[in-house]
Assembly symmetry: C2
Homo-oligomer: 110 residues x 2
DNA sequence: AAAAAATAGGCTATTTTAAGGCTACTATGG
DNA sequence: CCATAGTAGCCTTAAAATAGCCTATTTTTT
């Protein structure tokens, strides 16, 4: 499955179908999943068609026993020893490096 | 990281921080990421604190080059040969198996 | 076949998110 | 230390998600 050739919506739809497959493998109804997650039936339907909130996804994946996989998919950014050396033990807190020199009247840009 | 011992919100927050780490590893600003994903700056901020829509997550992960990992985290439900045999080649389309027999006056449940 | 259960889709009200702008705070580079 | 860029936070308006309910369709069971 090549996600990079798919639109965002197509990917979301695909994820929804996978959620549905996970649910059906457990043979539970949308209503049962809704009750178990304390979400409404509508939310389960929406998720299975690729719409909804991130927090809803988390709740559903927990109930379907797929939380660990979710954790693996967005890796913890481990700081390499090299980077540590470069920045005296602190990791970057803001993006940077695009400073332009302060503007002086000598610069005749027009 | 034991997700199952965390609340949904805590997990979403953790995912947000990982997204931030991915962004900072690329050394791009929230504004640059917003522009690249055609989302607003506010959405990027929200995602990094664990709120937002599934479609926003997909767009951001694409830009950060983590789409493939997302695909891996919600596995495609492959049908086992055993299941195929059980259901004459069709896979289950609805959850079921919890039918109760039609109520008859003989049943004296109270 | 009929009956029942599961799901899709619509509708309204409420809550949350998205967009855009603005200010305050703070890390970063010079 | 100073100037500036990056980020957090709040505000308003618009869009989308959610909850709850109801009806129609389709699958599954009997």
């Amino acid at each position: 499955m090549d996600f990079y050739s798919m639109t965002d919506q197509a990917i979301a739809t695909e994820l929804g179908q996978r959620i549905r497959s996970l649910r059906l493998r457990r043979n539970i109804t949308q209503q049962q999943l809704a009750t178990a997650t304390a979400l409404s039936l509508n939310v389960i339907k929406s998720l299975e068609t690729g719409r909804g909130k991130l927090s809803s996804l988390v709740a559903v994946l927990r109930e379907l026993g797929a939380l660990q996989e979710l954790g693996n998919c967005i890796p913890e950014a481990t700081v390499s020893p090299l980077q540590l050396a470069r920045r005296q033990g602190r990791q970057r807190q803001r993006a940077s490096g695009q400073h332009r020199p302060p503007h002086s009247p000598d610069d005749d840009e027009w």
